[in-house]
Amino acid sequence: MSETLSRRGVLGAGALVVAFSLGPRALAQEGGAAPKPVAPGLPGSLKTTPMLDAWIRVDADGITVFTGKAELGQGIKTALIQVAAEDLDVAPAAIRLVTADTGRTPNEGITAGSHSMQDSGAAILNAAANVRMLLAEAAAQKLGVAPDALATTGDGGFKAPDGRTVRYADLAAGLSLHVAARADAPHRPLGARRTLGHDLPRVDIPAKLTGGVAYVHDLRLPGMLHARVVRGPSVGTELKALDEAAALAMPGVVKLVRNGRFAAVVAEREWTAVQALQRLQQAGWRRPGPPLPAGDPLASLNGPSQDEVIQDVGAGAAAGVRTVQARYSRPWLMHGAIGPSCAVAHFQDGQLTVWTHTQGVFPLRGAIAQLVKLASDKVRCIHMEGAGCYGHNGADDVAGDAALAAMALPGRPIRLQWMREQEHGWEPLGCTQAAQIRASLDAAGHIASWRFEVWSHSHNGRPVTAGGLLAGLEVDPPFAPQIPRPIPMPEGGGDRNGVAIYAFPQARAVSHFIEKAPLRASALRSLGAHLNVFAIESFMDECAKAAGADPVAFRLAHLTDERAKAVIALCAEQFGWASRRLSDGRRGTGFAFARYKNLASYCAVALEVEVEHETGQVSVRRVVSAIDAGDVVNPDGLKNQIEGGIVQALSWSGLEAVTFDADHRTSFDWSAYPVARFRDVPGSVQVHVLNRPGTPFLGAGEAAQGPAGAALANAVADATGVRLRDLPLSPERVKAAIGI
């Protein structure tokens, strides 16, 4: 942690409050940009889209379900099919699912923030119950029996007590689903569930294992051309004068699309486009703006901040007998999709169609319409999968790039993919953050008062205007850049999970939002929860140590939430915490817990590490996790998400940091930005699910990021006796800290 931050920003120093700037605003909420609620009493996204036929259609061809959420590799398609199948009581294979498409599906904003089950899952479950209820009423009328005398057959029909049956498809013709959902449509009884709660294999996996068309990268349209966008090495740079003639002279190059500083080269063959890009990049590059603050990656957090008190409970500071205080930080982190971002765009007859792996087809449509100067009803954005994004990466930008190229070549579909160095150099990053915590312990070793502060840049640069796209800032005239805004609590951005879940007699938390950031910042899986949970859960261990208490027992003693306690107890039991191997200077164990956003899943992680003194290398030998995600739709899908989140967060927390010099990002590829490989991942990862059927779905996709990082830090501290508070816990830092 920088001394500067400590002097200027921490502990009572007067904070600068800047006035709100005028200009296009970023989304107020990460999951926002959906239309305003019109039916606030309904579950999930039915609040904004209450009509049943927006979600479910039944006709002679079968059942089609629509969602505004997108498959990001998190398995949402499978889970939503299960939800619909359960309350319609049909086999999952009977459901056709249409995902995020501005031409066909409800607008559910962004697929982010572990919201999909809470928003779309709850909507579809309820819509399915409504549709089954309406079908039952129609069947009852047709068969001349009472609706509650009918039983579903499990394969798309009803059966009367006398054995007569009627199919949904036969009822559908006479039934309008263009009616608003009711909140009280009965769900199928928990004990009769056939699909929800079972391990249905993911519907998207078979194509991915066999070379099927699975990604927008695989889309091939008749007459399609290949394009590459022409940019400098990273955000803030630009190429010098392009040798346009040299590129156009290359056989197979069709066009160099230029508009202001935007340039894309289009060719018949993909490799030609790559070679033409390389030829154009020979122009060299420059950085027109001020230099980046190379050196201390935290220095930018000392900038002017907008400050908000996010927690203030209990009057006055309780008298403690001992004060504990510490500061924690993380560097800039990269999403690092394995597949560079890609889009296909086609402009024909005044209509622009964009196939994209964006997380938000509707907001992107607005931004692209502005960029290409079309009315938004002349632009259609259709989601197709990309490589896993883990937040706002290059997906939206590349769609803007492809759209501009397509507008210049009407009638020809354009496939534009970024190069690896472009993804590393231009994707929005997860920003650096710092947190400081001070607590006083009473004579009994309980926390009597708690003060938390966090400093963060924006976690939300998602495009809502053309100025939120890279191309929008390059065209002539350029669009105004979006002004970043903090995401309000309770979800929060940099302050996500900044309010500790523990019950303290007195607690105060302050969030400092620093608008001006040296690097491009936006949403990275779990936003501020990664750093805040790392800080809080590291600090709980530091307090437990000061109190002479066991870390798990210390947490339990400060919790009132019974579900939190149950998850901690399950994790500790499955790990064998009580009988764990005691630290011997090399081996150690760590524990951490959080409820994501204090309103989604509960997740605890325990792990065992071995530290090699000679190198500082930390090997994670085994990990045990417990998760309560409410009513679990697909237990194995949930485990897959938590396992992946743990392994990814161990990579972030143990290895990763974006580097930059005065001119540009120097993390330009996988050699310059190493991430976990097979030799780095744990010996084993176990996930135990605490299922609570019939309770609301709790988002889980991002729940493990904070606890996994904190458990690693706690295990390293246990193993070595040295507390490391700045991420990543790299071998160099570990070696330096243990001083061998």
Partner: protein, 159 residues
């Protein structure tokens, strides 16, 4: 004209000889399995087998693959009739986004072709060149063990 043998079939192709094999597989032969990940031989998303060995198709000029046997994930099986490794990945649900998976399968295939019962350390060392960003590593390892007839939760040896 270059004659390229892919998954047991010869293809006569009129393509610039320096074109990386990856682009020929994807665009000329319309095989989706091998993916562009980095173009630098750093991530393995493009991995295919060339004469049985795992190779980065993003780096290998198509002319250098001519006259050799190229195998892609499409050559192992289909959705209806998956190969042993494909079935093991399906059973273990060893994918999240799945962008890396075809490359993972092909690198693992090269290992199992040469060493049908590898140790855990051998599996991890062999798979080291291929990156997964979703953190699906534990399932990928289980799938490889399963395909090799090893206990799926094989204990990691002290390494």
């Amino acid at each position: 004209m270059i004659v390229l043998n892919v998954n047991g079939r010869d293809h006569s192709l009129d393509v610039p000889p320096e074109t990386p094999l990856l682009y020929v597989l994807r665009n000329d032969l319309q095989l989706n399995g091998a993916k562009f990940g980095c173009g630098l031989g750093q991530c393995g998303a493009c991995t295919v087998q060339v004469d049985g060995q795992a190779a980065y198709s993003c780096l290998l000029p198509v002319s250098a693959a001519a006259g050799r046997h190229v195998r892609t994930v499409e050559g192992l099986g289909t959705v209806e009739k998956p190969g042993v490794l494909q079935r093991a990945f399906e059973t273990e649900q060893a994918a999240q986004c799945g962008y890396c998976i075809a490359g993972m399968i092909m690198r693992a295939q090269a290992l199992l072709d040469a060493n049908p019962r590898p140790s855990e350390a051998q599996i991890r060392a062999h798979m080291q060149p291929n990156l997964c960003r979703c953190g699906t590593h534990m399932r990928i390892l289980r799938a490889i063990r399963r395909a090799a007839g090893l206990p799926p939760d094989g204990k990691m040896e002290a390494a």
